[in-house]
Structure formats: structure tokens, C-alpha cells
């Protein structure tokens, strides 16, 4: 990603749609613009408010060729679709769309929502990315508007300017988490970190836990990743802002909302011998760049830097993780410590000291 510094010095920004394209209904234009702003407000502390007259921070207009006092001009159909200016006064933050294009809500012509989301990236201080999967890549690429259009590169870029959204859910739980989750016999299929959250998976559901404020949200796995089957058996977040999900002898690599092309793959491609049919649990130690993959009473170690399985494995779990003697259902790392789960119990383990610190109930993260 690239940035144009400084960004806006305030979190509340106004926008005004100066005119509309006749290609779409006014309502569709308004919706596309609003949705495009929401893309960025989802991942930053920024709040966007529409005004209908006067000077807004971000003035949005459709024009052709030389338009108004704009120092840049359009070129007729195709070619340049739109342009925007970095944060500032005057033209700063403004976004212009080429009216000689065919603007649409779908895949025909050019999707206004997608182009607007890209241009708003510029209006907020991003320049072009050479990551071809990024929204801020300069060339137009249609993706279904039902997919979240930002790549990890886009999110890293905008958060480098404005930071991440406040880590507070819209509604704090009025009461502790439901009895179902807090049942004393709760166990999990797999657990992984996802940036600052911890994701617990069981059956078709997942729980999103914000450890810093004990907030918990329960969702269907398919809401985020429709391609994943229920009953995921292992999951871990690697060093590249991706999550690997395992079920049977297959695994998926997911970046944001999207599964990387070519997945699922067979776990053999990671370097496992052919006899291995499934993984019980996995965790990447962010401090060392090594991923531990647990199967039965043994584990393998995968070097994330060289992307290869290390020699000398498998090794017995109990030898290198004294005190972890049960089969591992799930494991994750938080603040350097490992949390191993079996049934309704979890063990907090210090990988540096190589010892169990304490045994806790498996639902300790759920504000029960």
C-alpha cells in the first residue's frame, strides 16, 4: 500500500453528493456511495455524515472531459474512470466520476460502489497499491458487491493512518453469555486468533471473543466463510494475516473474507507423510514463526518463514509440553502464552518456561 500523509485530522467527516449520474436511480447512487464509505468506517474510527448543501470535506460529483476548475480531466468512455484528491482543503478529499462511463449496480459497465470505495481510499489518504488483490490497485476489477472489497493490504494501509476501530461492540451484553455457551461441559472443535479477537469454533457456529473487554458474539461460520464446512477440526492464524482451517485431510487458507485460490489443498502439501488423515489442533507461535500441529500424542513443527516442515518431527507432545498429556482439541496463543483445550478444561502454558501455569475451565473466555 501507499499513503499520502497527513490524513484527515478528525474522525468525523462530511460528504456531499453534488450531482447524480443519469445511469442509475438517485437512490441507487446514494446507496452505493453510502456503502462505499461504510467499507472504510468498518475498519477505522472514521464516521461519515452526508450533508446536502454547503462545503463538505468530501465533495462527490460526476463530470466529463474538463469539468469545473478541476486540474485533471476525463477522457471519454473507458480509460480513466474517476479520480480523487488526498485529504486537504479546496479540492482536497474531493472525488469525481467520469460521466462518460456506464455506471451500474452490478457487473455490467462499471460498478459505482467499487469505484467509489477505491476513490474514497484516496480521499482518506491512500495512494495506489501494487498488490493486485487490493482495492487500491489502480486497475478496475469487478468483484461481487456482496463480498467485502478490502484486502489485508488495504486494511493495513488505512489503519496505518487512522488506526483500527474502537474495540467495543455496538451493544455490550446486557447479561452474561447464554447458558448454552456457559454450560460446564462445553468443548470446542478448534480455536484461532483473528487479529485482536479469538475465534472459537464448534459445529456450524463460532464465537468471537474480544479478550480485552470480555465481549462475546455468536455467529454461523457460514456468515463469514460460506465455503468452509461445519466441524472444522483445527485452525490457526499465521504470520501473514491469514487463517488456515483444517478438516480431515484438507485445509483452506483464508485472507479476510476470501479463500485463497487453489484451496482446499491436501495437508500432504504442508509436508505431512501420506498416512496423516487429520489434524487435532494447531497454533502458530508469533514470537518464533513456528507452527505446532498436534495429532494424537505427537506434534509436527512447520517453519512459517521457509514454509516447510522441520526435520526431526514428529515429537511426543508430553516431552516438549510437560503437563499436556491429554489429546488436544484446540489451542491458541494469547500474549505469548498457549491455551490448550481438552473437553471442558484448558491449560495455560508458558512455552518459554515450558510449564503449565494453571488449569482453567474451557469457558473462561466467555463472560459466564
Amino acid at each position: 500500500y501507499g499513503v499520502t500523509l497527513p490524513g484527515w485530522k478528525k474522525a468525523k467527516l462530511t460528504y456531499r453528493i453534488v450531482n447524480h449520474t443519469p445511469d442509475m436511480s438517485k437512490e441507487d447512487v446514494d446507496k452505493a456511495i453510502q456503502k462505499a464509505f461504510k467499507v472504510w468506517s468498518t475498519v477505522t474510527p472514521l464516521i461519515f455524515t452526508r450533508i446536502h448543501e454547503g462545503i463538505a470535506d468530501i465533495m462527490i460529483a460526476f463530470g466529463t472531459k474538463a469539468h469545473g476548475h478541476c486540474p485533471r480531466y476525463f477522457d471519454g468512455p473507458l480509460g480513466v474512470l474517476a479520480h480523487a484528491f488526498p485529504p486537504g482543503s479546496g479540492f482536497g478529499g474531493d472525488v469525481h466520476f467520469d460521466e462518460d462511463e456506464d455506471w451500474t449496480t452490478g457487473s455490467a459497465g462499471f460498478n459505482l460502489f467499487l469505484v467509489a470505495a477505491h476513490e474514497f481510499g484516496h480521499a482518506l489518504g491512500l495512494s495506489h497499491s501494487n498488490d493486485q488483490g487490493a482495492l487500491m490497485f489502480p486497475n478496475y476489477a469487478y468483484v461481487s458487491p456482496s463480498e467485502f472489497p478490502l484486502s489485508p493490504d488495504d486494511i493495513s494501509g488505512i489503519q496505518s493512518i487512522y488506526g483500527s476501530p474502537p474495540n467495543v461492540p455496538d451493544k455490550r451484553p446486557a447479561s452474561p453469555t447464554s447458558p448454552k455457551t456457559c454450560g460446564s461441559q462445553i468443548s470446542f472443535d478448534a480455536i484461532t486468533t483473528l487479529r485482536r479477537e479469538v475465534i472459537f469454533l464448534k459445529g456450524r457456529h463460532l464465537w468471537r471473543v474480544y479478550p480485552d473487554n470480555s465481549a462475546v458474539e455468536r455467529e454461523l461460520i457460514s456468515t463469514f466463510w460460506p465455503i468452509l464446512p461445519p466441524g472444522i477440526e483445527a485452525a490457526y492464524e499465521n504470520m501473514k494475516d491469514q487463517i488456515l482451517f483444517f478438516k480431515g485431510n484438507k485445509f483452506w487458507v483464508i485472507s479476510g473474507y476470501q479463500v485463497l485460490l487453489g484451496y482446499p489443498k491436501n495437508i500432504n502439501t504442508l509436508g505431512f507423510p501420506k498416512g496423516i488423515k487429520k489434524i487435532d489442533a494447531a497454533v502458530c507461535n508469533k514470537n518464533t514463526g513456528k507452527t505446532h500441529l498436534f495429532i494424537g500424542d505427537k506434534y509436527w513443527r512447520f517453519d512459517e518463514n521457509s514454509q516447510s516442515m522441520e526435520k526431526g518431527y514428529p515429537r511426543r507432545i508430553v516431552n516438549d509440553f510437560p503437563g499436556i498429556s491429554q489429546k488436544i482439541d484446540a489451542v491458541f496463543q494469547q500474549k505469548g502464552l498457549f491455551y490448550f483445550f481438552h473437553g471442558s478444561k484448558q491449560w495455560e502454558f508458558d512455552p518459554t518456561a515450558k510449564k503449565v501455569i494453571r488449569e482453567i475451565k474451557s469457558n473462561s473466555w466467555f463472560n459466564c
Partner: protein, 82 residues
């Protein structure tokens, strides 16, 4: 004799390349003055920058893949500069 088909579009391609590079690869920040200066790089150097940006083979020459990339609809903000 009729012009060979391969030579038909050479002038158009040259114009496409020049226009493209002028629009998207022509300015850069002046580190000494906090302002801007017209990029003194040659066309070949700008073309190399463009090819590198788009993950193309960096030849400094307008090959077919480079021209195809230049013809794609895109954002009007330059790829270099601020």
C-alpha cells in the same frame, strides 16, 4: 505495398505509451523543496517503473502485455508522486 499489419498500430501504441506515462508516471516529489518537479526520467525509465508496479516483465519496452495493461480501465490518480 500495403503496410504490414504489425506496423499499422505502431504510431497509436507510441502515443498510448506516452499519454499513459505522462498521466500516471510523470511527477514526483522534490525532496529538496517539498514541492514538485517534472520527472526528468526517460520514457524507458518511466516504462520500467510502470512495468515493475504492475508485476510485468521489466524491459523498458512497450511489449504486448504492457500495452494491454495500459489499455485497461483504471483510476486517474498517478501511480507515483505523493
Amino acid at each position: 505495398l500495403p503496410v504490414h499489419p504489425e506496423n499499422d498500430n505502431k504510431e497509436d501504441d507510441a502515443k498510448l505509451v506516452q499519454d499513459y506515462l505522462n498521466k500516471f508516471y510523470a511527477v514526483e516529489p522534490d525532496p529538496n523543496q517539498l514541492g514538485w518537479k517534472i520527472n526528468a526520467e526517460s520514457t524507458a525509465e518511466k516504462l520500467q517503473k510502470m512495468q515493475q508496479f504492475f508485476g510485468l516483465k521489466v524491459t523498458g519496452k512497450p511489449d504486448t502485455e504492457t500495452l494491454e495493461t495500459m489499455k485497461k480501465p483504471r483510476c486517474g490518480v498517478p501511480d507515483v508522486g505523493l
